[in-house]
Amino acid sequence: MANKAVLLNTVPPYGYVVANGKWKGSALAQSLQGNVKVMFEEHLGVVDFLLSDKSCVLHVSESDMVAGSAYKRKIVRFRNANSGLHGLVVVEKTRLSEQDFPSLQKFVVFELGLTLLPVGSAAEAAQLLVQLALGVSKENPFRRSGVSGLLDPVVLALVQQIPGVGKVKAAGLLRRFSSVHQLCGAPVRELEPIVGHAAAQHVWGFFHNPFD
């Protein structure tokens, strides 16, 4: 499949969008060109745009949706063609196409597992594509930061969740038994000198009493 090879090898550099040749001269391509550099490619097959973050876009226009259900087959071909790339379906959700949107969303998101992004017009699609293309270089504020802090405060907070154990008793227990696992294994007589008789019973009971 020559088409596939071309498709997978053309991950555009930052600031560029690879567009299917059929968009040449369109209003959408023109609004794109004001903000990013557009390279036209004749062999993208069913894909409309390739972005530099390894995602590819299929554009479903208002007229595609109004014309019947052929666009659904196109979406399936799009899904099957782009293994390895993140598939985004941009759909024109307008007054005319609005009624079909829920079933389209069910199909694209729940059945095919693709991302669906509604826009109001081709101009809005261009605006969104620009953000998708340019956002790659910036730090993503929604991504989970991989930095995990020290566990000591977490363990201290954990021990304080035991009924009858406050900050002072928790710190005392952890100076003697450095982990939750060790504390759990301690017999009552070893807990008593640290927290007193009553709290020692509570701590042991919290760990070992079976739930009713």
Binding site: R143, D152, G172, V180, F211
Partner: protein, 241 residues
């Protein structure tokens, strides 16, 4: 050691957890879930998450104008980061803004900021869904729960805890990357707190219904040896001249 894994609730009885804040902001969603979708919608305090539809999926619920508002930026970022640390999968339902009676519906003004937010969310792996209103939101939640059920991830434990289990729940919730549903699974699938603490990585993963990496993080925290010098009871250190 063996974990007492209970069978999941019978098919057709899907469970969804709803944050208590949604009673004020979306009573229609809760009643539509119960009456139209036939879902067991249990309301409780989820602390930072609107809905939990499976053992691994949280759903955040926002209006379009919330997403498009720069005032909401920090809050949305904090919430999405915290959800991603607690759940394998995070969904965002974008609901159309409501119009009050007598008000003409204004078309939503799409800004560059809105598009930037949407593209960042997509790139962060958040699944986006669009809803026309509360009824639609309830239908999407039920559909998500059904899809998750087909993948063997449905919530399968009782949704309420009392007495000793309630105390254990608070303890589990303090562990890193333990969500409300993970804590609930731990409450019901282990006989005691000690059984959780002493369990192997495999049985911890099975009982808590979490991924391997999350099970490892929990396991590591339970066995983590604290530096006793950090455990001094905040008496101010005096520097000897």
């Amino acid at each position: 050691l063996q974990t007492s894994l209970k069978p999941s609730s019978p098919a057709g009885h899907l469970s969804v957890l709803v944050d208590s804040r949604c009673i004020a902001s979306g009573p229609e969603v809760i009643s539509a879930l119960r009456l139209r979708q036939g879902v067991v919608a249990h309301v409780c305090s989820l602390d930072g998450c609107d809905f939990i539809v499976s053992n691994r999926m949280a759903v955040e619920w926002q209006t379009q104008s919330d997403i498009g508002s720069t005032h909401n930026r920090k809050r949305l970022q904090d919430r999405m980061q915290s959800l991603q640390s607690l759940f394998e999968r995070v969904c965002l339902i974008l609901e159309a803004d409501r119009t009050r009676p007598g008000e003409t519906s204004r078309p939503f003004q799409r800004t560059r900021y809105y598009d930037n937010t949407v593209s960042c969310l997509v790139r962060a792996g958040v699944r986006l869904l669009v809803s026309r209103g509360p009824e639609d939101t309830a239908a999407l939640l039920a559909e998500l729960a059904r899809v998750e059920q087909r993948k063997g991830q449905a919530i399968g434990v009782p949704l309420e805890v009392k007495g000793q289990r309630a105390q254990a729940l608070q303890f589990y919730l303090t562990l890193p990357c333990v969500s409300f549903i993970t804590a609930l699974n731990m409450c019901h699938n282990f006989r005691s707190v000690a059984q959780v603490i002493n369990s192997s990585l495999d049985s911890l993963q099975a009982g808590a219904c979490v991924s391997r990496s999350r099970a490892e993080e929990i396991y590591r925290c339970l066995r983590y040896s604290c530096d006793s010098s950090l455990m001094s009871t905040s008496a101010p250190k005096r520097t000897v001249p």
